[in-house]
Structure formats: C-alpha cells, structure tokens
Amino acid sequence: MSNDANAARNLAPKTARTVLSSEDIDRVLTRIAHEIIEANKGTKDLVLLGIPSRGFPLAQRLAQRIAATEPGLDAAAIVGQLDVTMYRDDLRHSTARTPLPTRLPAGGIDDKVVVLVDDVLYSGRTIRAALDAIADLGRPRIVRLAVLVDRGHRELPIRADHVGKNLPTATTEKVRVHVAEVDGVDNNEVIIEDAA
C-alpha cells in the first residue's frame, strides 16, 4: 500500500466501539467452556486446537476452564495450535504469509473430539483451510468449531457450534479482537471499527 493511501485511511473519520470488554470475554469463555463439556458429555477425548494468532490463546483459556472442572486433567495436555497458512485459498493473491508452528497435544488427534477455536468467524475460509489441515494431520472422531465472535457474511457453508457473541456487522466494518497474550498486558477487548 502506498503512503498516500495509508495517510488517507488514517485521516478518514473512524468510529470505534467496544462490543466485548475484558470481563465480557471472561464470561463468554466460561460459558463456551461449559457448552463444550456439555456437548461432549464430559472431557473425554477432548482436544482444543487454536488457530493463530489469537485463536491459540483463546483455546488455552478455554482449556484452563475445562481442566478446572475435572481434577487431574492437565490443560496443556488438551490444547494445541493449528496453523492453516499453507492451506489458504488466497496464497496466490495476498502477500506471502509466514507460516506459524503447528503443535498438537502429545496424544495426537486421531479418534479425538477436536474443537477448533478462532477469534472471529467471517467468510468461513479460514475454517475451510483448517479442516483441510486437520485431514493431513489425522482423523478426529468429531470436529467442532468455537468462536469468540460470529460476524456473519459467510462465503462457504460453515457454521460454528459454540459462539461467544453474534455480531451483526457491515462488510465495511472491521472487527478487531485484542487478547493480552498477543496484544500486550490487560488488552482484552473486541472492537468494531468503521473503516468506511
């Protein structure tokens, strides 16, 4: 992008409003954690795979809440990171992205109940890429999807099983999720920016 375009964007009037505060995110994650346990009828075979960059810390937080319900369950043993960069359908068109590490829990994902965790569900293309990536890594019994925010505008037949907040948006708006693990101390919120 040229500097002029950048400057124009920065000068344009931009309204930002917080739709989920730090406390809201905590409550939402606690609810999703319980939904996951309920849907799975317990914690047996559960594996949470976070999609970088912000899905992974969210998956870790969910895993901690799930592990807290069952003594002896180690949160680190049920959470992993799934990078989908190499499976995206826009590799040829966007700038080259640097892939991030994929780390699976020691037990692998074969015959497990995998819950994909991402911050924002939008077109559904990231999730399609994630499903392809999973197929190359093993064969889970079930794959579910948990997202912090569903902002609509799906371009593929994909839906989430566990949604933190349904957020009606316009395509001109931007949804930004900040989590402390990625964005710095105490920076936990979901913001809608009007980029028009």
């Binding site: 990078d83 190499m86 966007s94 080259a96 992205r97 640097t98 892939p99 590490p101 190359d136 890594l137």
Partner: protein, 326 residues
C-alpha cells in the same frame, strides 16, 4: 523477492524470514502426510545444465511436498546437445507454462541473465552458476548452523541470527560458489568467517572479502571454531596444478583423523563438521570425520528440502505483480 539469484543482495530480515519459514517446512517432513497444498497447480521446472544429485532431487522433493508439478530438464539428452541456446530453451519453458525455473548452469551469471531478460516471466532460482553463487546451499548451511547455535546457547531458533558464531570454510575456495554464497549470507547473519586454503586455491580479490584468510588449518582450529565447512576439491574444474598431489592436500588441508582427534583433545566438543557434498572421502574429509557425530552432512541434506520449500513458497505465493513482495 521476485528471484533468488545470490545471497549478496539478501537482507538480514529476508534471510531470517526464509529460515523461519523453513523451520515450519521442516516440521512437515516429520509428519505422516508430508505434503502441503500451497503450490497446487503450479509448475516448477528444474533446468540443470550441470550434473547434480542432491540439489536436483532436493528441489524436486521440495516442489512436490508443496504439491507443485515438477518438470526435470537436464542438458544431457536434450536439444541443448544439438546446440539450442539458453534463450530458446527459456522461451520453450515459457510456452509450456512454467511458473518457476530452478536453474543450474556452468556459466556464472546464467540465472541472472534469465531473470533480467523477457525470455521468461517466471521467478528464477539460482541452483548454482559457475563459480559465482549457490544461494540455497548457503541458506541450508545457515539453517543447519542456526539449529546448532541455538542448541549450544539454549535459545529458540525462530527469528535469531548467527551473531558471534565462528565458522571456518576450508578448501577449494577458488572454484567454490558455495564458499561465496556462504560468506555473504553468514556475514549478513552476523557470523565471523575464516577462509582456510592454500594460496593457489584462493581467488584473486579475496583479500578484500569481509573474512579472515588463513593458510594454516591447525592454527585456525586451535583458535576455537564453532563449525568447520569442508569444501569439495572440484577436480572437474581444475585445469592446472593447484597443489602438488592429493596426499599433500589431504595432510595440510583435509579434515583427517588426526584433526578429528585434535578437536577432541582440545575439548571442542561442540564443533560441527559440515560438507555440502558430494564428498571426496580421504581427500578433503576422512571417513572417520564424515561419519562422526560431529558431522552434519545428512542433516544438511534434509534441511535442504525444507529451505528450498521455503524459497519456492515465498517466490510462488503472494502478489507477484509487486516486485518487492517479500
């Protein structure tokens, strides 16, 4: 980055980015399904005017692991032996629909020529040109060195360089494109390089290279070296006598059993021995050294696939309309 022609014009950030991506690519090599769909439907042509084993199969494996289609071309048995020019060969590849060209050529500058002309639009990867450069070899050496350096220092590899590492490059510097590519890249990444060779095997102008020149391998090793890179004595390029005989070369410049024992005696337990291959066992490296736990020869080969995957991925993904896409 539109082409990869040399390591001299590779910035530190670009080099580290390639190594970081290679790290993720290496992880794919350990999986059950060793394939990524990133370059599905793209065609990579391996254009080899010189003989090669590991570079060609390494590029082939790299392209295939990224799901690209691979066309292998070697000058032997092609119309090149009927006198077809580089230009006509390149235009043929363009007409076939090559998306990337990996070229090895005996003439220094052939890949740059291919990249600079409009004979072919595809990105060009230099897989070794004459005595000029062999950038992917230097990148895989740097990747191997970085893994070792991180292990020694107990740090993470991602995002790091080779600051403070002492590397000796030993042998036939004169004919070695590997030495040149490594010198530029290792300097960019912050390593200290010492070139060790007989005066006859140092090129004119090497006195201004950003490295130390030594004529004494034992003294260099005794000074404390983190990695020794032995170069192949390139008999096929030697049309004059550069050293009296192979026995003398091996005694003065080869990594023989005595030098291996000396490393152990000096307590340099973390010094690794590298060789780009193919090895002349008994000449520049003894079998005991090549097969010792210090040797990274096979590690270098498997790292080569990962590094070449990273290079092909970077050149073939992203918006290729933009010249500085990297």
């Amino acid at each position: 980055m539109k082409h990869l022609l040399s390591t001299l014009d590779l910035s530190r950030a670009d080099a580290i980015r390639i190594l970081d991506i290679a790290e993720e690519m290496a992880a794919v090599g350990t999986r059950e399904v060793k394939k990524l769909p990133a370059l599905r439907g793209r065609t990579v042509v391996n254009l080899f005017f010189e003989d090669s084993t590991r570079t060609r199969i390494s590029f082939e494996a790299a392209a295939k692991r990224l799901s690209a289609d691979v066309i292998n071309f070697s000058a032997k048995g092609s119309s090149v032996s009927k006198g077809e020019s580089l230009k006509d060969t390149a235009q043929t590849l363009q007409a076939i629909g090559a998306d990337a060209v990996v070229i090895r050529h005996g003439a220094s500058g052939a890949p740059a020529r291919l990249a600079a002309t409009d004979w072919i639009d595809a990105p060009v990867v230099n897989a070794g040109d004459g005595t000029h450069e062999h950038p992917t070899q230097a990148l895989l050496d740097a990747f191997t060195l970085r893994n070792h350096w991180a292990r020694v220092n107990g740090t993470s590899t991602l995002g790091t360089d080779l600051a403070g590492m002492k590397v000796a490059i030993v042998g036939d510097i004169l004919h070695s494109r590997v030495a040149r590519s490594n010198l530029w890249l290792l300097r960019t990444l912050g390593a200290e390089v010492t070139m060790v060779a007989p005066p006859t095997l140092l090129p004119h102008g090497s006195n201004v290279w950003p490295c130390t020149i030594s004529y004494d391998l034992d003294a260099t090793l005794a000074g404390g070296i983190d990695a020794v890179m032995m170069l192949r004595v390139q008999g096929e390029r030697m049309h004059a006598s550069f050293f009296p005989n192979t026995r003398e070369y091996s005694r003065l410049w080869g990594f023989d059993d005595a030098r291996l024992a000396a490393l152990d005696a000096q307590g340099q337990s973390e010094t690794i021995i590298m060789h780009p291959g193919p090895m002349n066992r008994g000449l520049e490296i003894s079998s005991a050294a090549a097969d010792s736990p210090r040797s990274t020869v096979l590690e270098q080969v498997s790292n080569g696939v990962a590094v070449r995957m990273a290079v092909l991925y970077l050149l073939l993904s992203g918006d290729q309309q933009r010249p500085s896409g990297l």
